[in-house]
Symmetry: C2
Subunit: 465 residues, 2 copies
Amino acid sequence: MTDVNTILAEADKALDQSLDRLFDLVRIPSISTDTAYKEDCRRAAERIVADLSGLGFSAALRDTPGHPMVVAHFEPKGATGKVPHFLFYGHYDVQPPDPLDKWMTPPFQPEKRTGKDGIVRLYGRGTADDKGQLMTFIEAMRAWITTTGTLPLKATILIEGEEESGSPSLIPFLKQNRGELSCDAAFVCDTNMWDEKTPAITTRLRGMVKDEITITGPRVDLHSGAYGGPAANPIRILSRLLSKLHDKNGKVTIPGFYEGVSDLPKEVKVQWQKLKFSDRKFLREVGLSVPAGEKGKGALEQVWARPTAEVNGIWGGYMGAGTKTVIPSQAHAKLTFRLVGKQKPEKILKAFRAFAKAEVPKDCRIDFAAYGSGSPASEIAGTSPLIRKSAKALKDEFGRDTALIGSGGSIPIVRYFKDILGMDSVLIGFGLNDDALHSPNEKYNLSSFHRGIRSWVRILAALAR
Amino acid sequence: MTDVNTILAEADKALDQSLDRLFDLVRIPSISTDTAYKEDCRRAAERIVADLSGLGFSAALRDTPGHPMVVAHFEPKGATGKVPHFLFYGHYDVQPPDPLDKWMTPPFQPEKRTGKDGIVRLYGRGTADDKGQLMTFIEAMRAWITTTGTLPLKATILIEGEEESGSPSLIPFLKQNRGELSCDAAFVCDTNMWDEKTPAITTRLRGMVKDEITITGPRVDLHSGAYGGPAANPIRILSRLLSKLHDKNGKVTIPGFYEGVSDLPKEVKVQWQKLKFSDRKFLREVGLSVPAGEKGKGALEQVWARPTAEVNGIWGGYMGAGTKTVIPSQAHAKLTFRLVGKQKPEKILKAFRAFAKAEVPKDCRIDFAAYGSGSPASEIAGTSPLIRKSAKALKDEFGRDTALIGSGGSIPIVRYFKDILGMDSVLIGFGLNDDALHSPNEKYNLSSFHRGIRSWVRILAALAR
């Protein structure tokens, strides 16, 4: 096998051309949410197809009711025995660039600029989300193919064009092409490093289930003078219900809520402590200072490894200017439960509803309106070979332990890959917190791009072994 | 002194003409909220001025920045010694008649119709609110003057034209004419009987003070995935705060809230029990069945004699269709406190705010926005001579004990008369619960009108003694 250093040298040597190819892609305004850019989306997809075909992939643009998908396969040459097969995912569509007047350079005229801090940054819409990221694995594969004539494993590339507009075509597409797209695992390149020096793999994602409640008291809105006292006020019932969701230690009180939630393993705890995350700074950035979650748990653990019951919206009665002395007929709230471990969305929803019903007087009503059936948390053990190999490859590149981190939110693609294609996802990306995704002056550090490419060169080598 | 029965006979004899005069007044669409009817409001006022002048009042139309007032004075002839002086209040303006298509006969073409139940009703906008009511005391005075050539006391009549549009000119007008309008007491004819057989005097009105709170947590709306757990959620803080306002017995928990609230005197309790008020029916009419207020107190006592803390509106976070996984920056609620006895609005507001502040974590903020300074409760003792005489007169007319009732809401005029003119108000009216005030097919029973006139004939006699 060719020494990985030879391939890395090729990647280094080709960096300027890699950058040219990225900039060519960024110049295409492939905004998926705006139909005015439909042809641009197609052009971006076609460009990737042509590029991958040139590298020896069997690549094709695949039409959907929305924007086309790019699917490309590479069969390694001279492979013997069972060769691992992985899917690599990214998306070529980008967010709209508004407000345009806040950009220092036009969003679709990418530019490399060196800051006063000496850091070289690549500016332009999509440099970080996700064109720059998806090009890291494509350019790494190019370096492999240029140097060795092949890849060390079987690769399928799936580049979507609707990620920024809710991926409406994705589920049907995955279902229709289940056989073709099912691999040993997926590598999703759309996440961040821990910081600019520390590589990261996101191994935990919280699940989620949502509910909406409506409490109905009196048949109609009542005058609070004529009825205040004897008449049930649904806002008061709702407030009481919501206030009972947590005990004074911040724990959720719904019976059975913590079933399937395990304490954080000691080694994970130790690893996270090493990240030296500042709860103080995290809260200060949003104008807060007092940790509000479960007592005795740090912010990282709360966000990455603990379930929540949050109220996302509440409304009822008179909400206009001035006053109206009304006892409203109805009060409403929207809730989300973030899930971890083995918590089952359907069980959580059922338990919450039983809990809520018990809080409503017998002459009042409670109605529920769920949105979707929810999704459980997903987690890959840090000890799994995929994670170990990838983490080692990243450490070799960055000279630092790879952080195995969590994400408090959901990443839908991970759920779809698991549910439809039956495969786990490994989330590796090289973005940074200050990349200004979805904002003016989006950027991707040149070092993210360069070391991203080098990292994938190493990961491909590691996975082949 | 002329026998009161002579005067009552005159009132009976003149009933048809009284009705004609009422109908002439109802025909004028004096809608105060709609500028298109500005001239009609003036016409209604002028009509009353002319009518009272014809009776011997010194009556005048008095301009204001809004609709004019009618002020009229009557000096009794041949009076010796100190003559009592009372003010009689009503309003000539009416509510808009919409929705017009729901009226069985046009709102400003009054009609007398006998129902299948044999009850004769006077239909038309303003028949009950308040033209029919104010005409009861004017027609009673007419009967007195026709029969005896005078009234048995000094009378000032104040008829307002902006009651249905918030009385913007009233406070300045009362202040500018304090000397002229200050009397021994006011009689306000704009309330209901207990039921069609039972006359009533409203002797208790709850006071009120309002507040609005805004709780600010994070500086901006946060993603509930990225921050759910450690970040304070203002909706949760608000819910907890509101849920703590009442204990499990329905009592308000704000320290000092019940200062100045006395238990109901036994004789009042006994009197109210005799009214045979059905809590069950009262609640059933609005779709409820479980009394929600203070445990151990009936609905009447709760509405007439107990203070409340009610939430009139609540809002925060995402309230649209579907879901948004947000932890909002702010949550809001509007509250009203109904007051009784000697509760002081400013003290209640202060105590509530201290209570609320204590519920807010130190990194969050609470802001308050009061609307006005509130008003204390008003109450006239059932033992006061004014009430005793009026109640006796009503009993003589109806052959039933007069109910001394309360009202859960405020009647602003009572507060203004007390604060600006230093006089108590006696609230006597002949409306019924089914009069459809502010609704299509507003009506006033002929018996309300007729016995209303007769009642005032008796009350004037009683007050003169």
